[in-house]
C-alpha cells in the first residue's frame, strides 16, 4: 500500500499516481537523481563541457549562467537574446534555455519565465509576468520592465538561483 503524501489516500502497491488526487507517487525525483550522478561522473562531466559549455577564451560566448545549486554552467553564445523557462510536456512552448532538467518545476519556474538580452555592452533581464516572480540580488522585478544586469548578479527565477558571469567584465 502506498499512502499518498498529499491526500492520504491509500493506493495499491505499484501505483505511480494517486487515484484520488492524481499526485505523483513514484519516480518524482528521477531528474534530480540523474543530475547528482552526473556531478560525480567524470565521463559525463566531460561530455557536458564539450556539448554545452565553451570556456570564455576563444569562444564566442558573451556570458554564462551558473546554477548555484548544482554548479552547472549554461553558456550564452551565438545569439543576443534568450528566453528562459521550462519545457512541459503537452505544451508547445519552447524556451531557448530550458531549465526543466534543473528542477525548475519544483522551484516554481514558469514555462516562459524571463528573457536575458544583450544590448550593446549592456545586459538586461526582463521578467515575462511569471507566476512566482524574478529576483535580482533579492529584489523583485516589475514584470515586462527591463532591468540592467551586472557581472556577478544573482538571479532567482522563483526559487531557482543563477549567477550571471559576463565576459570582459
Amino acid at each position: 500500500m502506498i499512502i499518498c503524501p498529499n491526500c492520504k489516500h491509500a493506493n495499491m502497491d505499484g501505483a505511480l499516481f494517486c487515484a484520488e488526487c492524481a499526485s505523483q507517487l513514484a519516480g518524482k525525483d528521477l531528474i534530480t537523481q540523474n543530475i547528482t550522478t552526473q556531478k560525480f561522473d567524470r565521463a559525463n562531466e566531460q561530455r557536458l563541457k564539450n556539448d554545452m559549455y565553451q570556456p570564455f577564451d576563444g569562444s564566442d560566448a558573451w556570458g554564462s549562467l551558473h546554477l548555484l545549486d548544482t554548479g552547472q554552467v549554461l553558456p550564452l553564445s551565438t545569439r543576443n537574446e534568450f528566453t528562459m523557462g521550462r519545457i512541459s510536456e503537452g505544451q508547445p512552448i519552447m524556451p531557448d534555455i530550458d531549465l526543466s532538467p534543473y528542477q525548475a518545476y519544483a522551484a516554481g519556474v514558469s514555462r516562459l519565465h524571463a528573457v536575458i538580452k544583450r544590448d550593446g555592452s549592456r545586459i538586461v533581464f526582463i521578467d515575462l509576468g511569471s507566476a512566482n516572480g524574478t529576483y535580482i540580488n533579492g529584489k523583485r522585478l516589475t514584470p515586462n520592465v527591463e532591468q540592467v544586469l551586472n557581472h556577478g548578479d544573482i538571479i532567482a527565477l522563483g526559487k531557482l538561483k543563477l549567477q550571471i558571469l559576463v565576459k570582459n567584465a
Binding site: 500500500m1 495499491m12 502497491d13 505499484g14 501505483a15 505511480l16 499516481f17 484520488e20 488526487c21 492524481a22 505523483q24 513514484a26 519516480g27 528521477l30 537523481q33 512541459s88 510536456e89 503537452g90 505544451q91 508547445p92 512552448i93 514555462r111
Partner: protein, 493 residues
C-alpha cells in the same frame, strides 16, 4: 528446392503449435474473406486455393506431422512489424496485498516509413441530416464532403449516406464514378427529421460492403449532432459485425447534444474512437485530419487475443496514439490502427492478486497480436505476447521508465475526469466535485488555465445544481484527451 512461398502456418496466420481448433477458426476466417464469390482483387482466388491446401494438410494430424518434419526451424523474428513492451517495474513484490503494474505496448512497422505502401481507401461518410443540422453545420459538412471527394485518388472509393429517421444513399460505393454529378448530389442534401443512428449506420455498412476488400482501408465516418434513442444496442451489434469484416468506425459529434459515451463505445468496438467538434467551424479541419490519418494507414487493425490469467485483472487499457481512446477490455481486444508516421502505443494497467504472489513468476498476459495490413494480402505472422514478471521479496530500486511516467501523468488527468463523471452519474456529487477540483489543480500546474477554469466552473455547477453545464463534461473529456496526444506529438518532433 527453395521456394519463396510462405509455409502453411504463415498462410493461415497461426503459430506452429496452434491447436486444431485455432487452425479451423483461422481457416474459416480466411475462407470467408477470400471466397471466390466475394473476392475482387486479382490473385485472391489463388490465395484462397492456397489456404484450402494449407487447411487440408494442417487439419489432418497425420499429414500435419509429416509436413512439420519438412519445415525449417521456426524463426521467431517477425519480419513485418516489431513490438516492444515496457513495464512500470521490473519485478512484482511478495506482499499480502494486491498490487498494480503498468505495461506500455508499442507496435510499429519494421520497414522504413518511405517504403511502406499506401493502400487504397473504401470510405463511407454517414451524415446526420436531422433538422438540428440546419445552417452552419450542414453547410460545413457539404463543403468538406466535396473537398474530400475532390482530393480522392483514382483507386479510392467514396460513398455518402445521409440519415435522419430514414437513410438515403447520396453517393453509392462504386468505382469510376462521375464526380461532377456526385458533387451536385451532395449540394442538394436537405435537413429534415430526427436522428436515428441505426438506420444511417446500416445503410453505410451496406454501401461499404459493396466494395469491401481486405486490400483496402474500409472505414465508416459517422457524423452526428444528436442523441439516438432506443437503437444503441442494435448499433453496437452492427459495429461488431463491421469489426469482424475489418471495417472501422469513427464517430464525430458536433455540438453538445450527442452521446459521447455511446459514440466512444461504438467506435471502440472496431478499434476506433470518437472526436468532439465543439464549433461547426472545426468540422472541416477534423474531417480532413481523419481522412489524412486513414490515407496514412499502415495496419488497419491490431487485435490482441488473450486468455484471462488467473488472479490477474486487466483493469484499464488506453490507446495513447495514433488516436487517443479507451480500449474495451474483452478478447479479442481491438487496440487500433498503426499509421505510417505514428506507431501504435497502448498502456495497460494490471491488478495482480495477492494470492499469486506466492509464486516466483506471475504471468500477466498470455495471448497473441494479430495485425491486418491492407496492402499485404498474405496474413502477417501473429506476434506471441507472453508477459511474465518475477516476484521478489523487495521492490526493484529502479525508477519507472520515463515513457510510462509521462504517459501516465497525462492519462491520470483523463481518468480523473472519468471518475468525476461516473461519480456524478451515480449521484455522488461531492466526490465528483472533489475530483474536478483536483483535476483543476493539476491542470493549473500544467499551465492549462482555461481548461482548469472549465473544470472549476463545472465543479461549481455540480455543487449547486447537481448537473453539468451543456457542454462542460465533453469539453473536459476531449480536452484532457487532447493533452495526451499533444504530448505524444511533441515527442515525435
Amino acid at each position: 528446392m527453395a521456394s519463396n512461398k510462405p509455409d502453411h502456418y504463415t498462410t493461415l496466420g497461426v503459430f506452429r503449435d496452434a491447436s486444431q481448433e485455432e487452425i479451423k477458426r483461422a481457416y474459416f476466417e480466411a475462407a470467408q474473406r477470400l471466397h471466390p464469390d466475394k473476392n475482387v482483387a486479382a490473385g485472391e482466388t489463388e490465395l484462397f486455393l492456397e489456404i484450402q491446401q494449407a487447411y487440408e494438410i494442417l487439419s489432418n494430424p497425420k499429414r500435419r506431422n509429416l509436413y512439420d518434419a519438412t519445415l525449417p526451424p521456426e524463426i521467431d523474428v517477425n519480419s513485418v512489424v516489431k513490438h516492444e513492451t515496457l513495464f512500470s517495474r521490473s519485478n512484482l513484490v511478495k506482499l499480502g496485498e494486491a498490487q498494480l503494474i503498468y505495461m506500455l505496448l508499442e507496435v510499429s512497422p519494421r520497414e522504413e516509413k518511405e517504403s511502406l505502401p499506401a493502400p487504397p481507401l473504401n470510405i463511407c461518410l454517414v451524415l446526420d441530416r436531422s433538422t438540428s443540422m440546419q445552417g452552419d453545420k450542414m453547410d460545413m459538412v457539404k463543403a468538406t464532403a466535396i473537398q474530400l471527394l475532390r482530393s480522392l485518388r483514382a483507386e479510392d472509393v467514396f460513398s455518402v449516406v445521409a440519415f435522419s429517421d430514414r437513410a438515403e444513399v447520396i453517393i453509392p460505393a462504386a468505382f469510376n464514378s462521375d464526380k461532377k454529378k456526385q458533387e451536385s448530389r451532395i449540394q442538394m442534401m436537405q435537413t429534415s427529421g430526427a436522428t436515428e443512428i441505426y438506420n444511417g449506420l446500416k445503410a453505410g455498412l451496406q454501401e461499404i460492403r459493396r466494395t469491401v476488400d481486405p486490400s483496402r482501408v474500409n472505414h465508416i465516418i459517422l457524423l452526428t449532432d444528436g442523441q439516438t434513442y432506443g437503437d444503441e444496442q442494435d448499433c453496437l451489434k452492427l459495429a461488431e459485425e463491421a469489426a469482424a469484416q475489418n471495417i472501422g468506425i469513427s464517430g464525430m459529434g458536433i455540438g453538445h447534444e450527442w452521446n459521447d459515451i455511446f459514440l466512444d463505445a461504438l467506435a471502440s468496438k472496431t478499434g476506433g474512437s470518437s472526436a468532439y467538434i465543439s464549433n461547426p467551424k472545426d468540422i472541416q479541419r477534423l474531417l480532413v485530419e481523419k481522412f489524412n490519418a486513414l490515407i496514412s494507414t499502415y495496419a488497419d487493425e491490431v487485435v490482441l487475443e488473450f486468455k484471462e490469467q488467473e488472479h490477474v485483472k486487466i483493469n484499464y487499457v488506453f490507446r495513447l496514439q495514433p488516436e487517443g481512446g479507451s480500449v474495451a477490455i474483452e478478447s479479442p481486444m481491438r487496440l487500433g490502427p498503426i499509421l505510417r508516421d505514428a506507431p501504435l502505443h497502448v498502456l495497460f494497467e494490471f491488478i495482480v492478486d495477492s494470492s499469486t504472489l506466492e509464486e516466483d513468476i506471475v504471468s500477466l498476459l498470455n495471448g497473441s497480436l494479430k495485425i491486418s495490413i491492407a496492402a499485404r494480402p498474405v496474413p502477417v505472422p501473429p506476434i506471441r505476447l507472453n508477459l511474465k514478471r518475477d516476484v521478489h521479496t523487495n521492490p526493484s530500486p529502479e525508477p519507472p521508465p520515463t515513457r510510462i511516467l509521462s504517459a501516465l501523468s497525462r492519462l491520470t488527468l483523463y481518468r480523473m475526469q472519468e471518475r468525476a463523471r461516473s461519480a456524478a452519474d451515480s449521484g455522488q456529487f461531492d466526490e465528483a466535485v472533489r475530483h474536478l477540483q483536483n483535476l483543476a489543480t493539476h491542470l493549473l500546474s500544467k499551465g492549462e488555465h482555461s481548461l482548469a477554469k472549465t473544470a472549476l466552473f463545472e465543479a461549481e455547477n455540480l455543487e449547486k445544481m447537481h448537473a453539468w453545464s451543456a457542454s462542460g463534461n465533453k469539453d473536459i473529456k476531449y480536452h484532457t484527451r487532447a493533452l495526451l496526444l499533444g504530448g505524444q506529438k511533441e515527442k515525435v518532433k
